[in-house]
Symmetry: C2
Amino acid sequence: MSKRIGADTIELTSRPRIAAWSASAGQKEREGPLGDTIDYVLEDDLLGQKTWELAEAAMLRDTAFRCLDKTALKTRDVDILLGGDLINQIMAVNLCARELMIPLLGLYGACSTMCEALAVGGMLADGGAARRVLCAVSSHFSTAERQYRTPLEQGGQRPASAQWTVTGAGATLLCGSDYTPEGVIPAASLTHATIGRVIDYGVKDMANMGAVMAPAAADTLARHLSDTGRSADYYDEIITGDLGKVGRGLMLALLDEKGVKVDAARVWDCGERIFSPEQDAHSGGSGCGCSAVVLNGYILDRFARGELNRVALMATGALLNATSVLQGETIPGVAHLVVIEKEDAR
Amino acid sequence: MSKRIGADTIELTSRPRIAAWSASAGQKEREGPLGDTIDYVLEDDLLGQKTWELAEAAMLRDTAFRCLDKTALKTRDVDILLGGDLINQIMAVNLCARELMIPLLGLYGACSTMCEALAVGGMLADGGAARRVLCAVSSHFSTAERQYRTPLEQGGQRPASAQWTVTGAGATLLCGSDYTPEGVIPAASLTHATIGRVIDYGVKDMANMGAVMAPAAADTLARHLSDTGRSADYYDEIITGDLGKVGRGLMLALLDEKGVKVDAARVWDCGERIFSPEQDAHSGGSGCGCSAVVLNGYILDRFARGELNRVALMATGALLNATSVLQGETIPGVAHLVVIEKEDAR
């Protein structure tokens, strides 16, 4: 049963377990600093499919199966699939779900979707609505770039604030307290969620998603700390989804303005970490797949090895579409936060 | 606290209350058989905005406010906003949420989104994660038509199986058992949810959404009845979202094939009912707004007047996008079911 604390934070009192996780990504991600933590690397980002969109759906499906394969569970043992992606009408997860045949709740939170799925999944498992949920999200450079920006063939110049959409998928299996499969050792538990508000600071530059998302990230983190009465130091690390270098700096400045004390050395961004500066990704990686790949590899592996005790993970999303940008609309952002804690750390 | 029954159905044991509801729609919907049940009719479907997309977002925002205005509640009294629409990247609900400033969980279930929102909202209220949730969805003929099909100016011939996207929005306020505002009499309670699986029977015709969605609707209803051990007669009415005339017939045939006995006279479709045959909507209405407008007017008004005791409402969605159709992909469908019951009917 969940409990609300403060204005906007939900405590998951039964502490749903993160029982399995898996990530897939492309060659560029493999060549980045976290490349070794990726479960499965795509040899070719078309994955044998005839379109990029079908490739993304296949990548997501394979990642979901690989996650389940780490346990003795089959798809019929999972009550609900929670997922989303960046393709119009979340095409990747819809096509993936017709093969998995797990009842689907489709989500859209742009690049914040990994945390949106974990938050909803955690609440459903905690409230008894689901015994096990599979959270699965993806993005693909070639589907996103041509949909949101310009044809791939155009090869336009990218400003320094631009980010590079990660080709990758991540899947996380959450189990209600009595439903972890036998013999499976969970990496950690999900203990809290703070749902994001949609914040718009008037940014119109679609090549500066960090500036779009930073105000939402600062808002969510400030509300979370106020609701829980915790200082930022409670967390070993505060990890954002894909603010990139530009957005991380802006978020820290906004937190400072709000009077929220944060040790900048403990705050890092999946988008900034997934590619090295030499990889020409400018401000960093982005896309639903960015935080999904880093969570379902680097972060959860470190929990499993006992290197992390408490983390606040906050995936961030820029809520634009191709039409809104052409219509001159400002771009709002959103950030959903979940707390991951090692059981022993209680 | 929620309880799972059968393979896939969730019983909401605390029976979250439907405390307020409101619907807005356009002139064509006003002229239909249910026109009198619509709270607010748009004089002009641009609503004073410069684009159809901004008009849809404004309609959704106004509908949400009108729903809350029926109680003494303000936006800050609502814990979570659950919503979606058909515009790419659910632009309407995102723009609406930046004005409401209620923490947002963005959903995408195509035209099934009203029931997806009610199902998730019911589970969150039942599990203690939210005291009050506002479920808000919309569609707009002019945003949907040009995005999914052809430019509005083209005015192409529509086959008899085609449906007409409803310009409309609906908002429903769900309250946890102890959180109905004083003096407010709920219309009914939400008692069960059955989440849809994504089903694909290989239909490629985007002018026949009824055929796309009927298999998913039959699947969800069959699973729901099997899980609950109920016969279809338990319900006063079984209401589908936007199967239209073509889809309703197909669903009944598929249920018959599955051996599920249903009295066809008690099964009706919001899309078939919202427009009259003279209105040139062919197979019927469609869009998230279709079931949303009919629920948040005609159906809940009848509950409030004591004319209904038990209803299974099943909104249906066709999971296509413009790209998938051009790529020759088959179109999967989904259907989410919620049970609405009068308190006295317990």
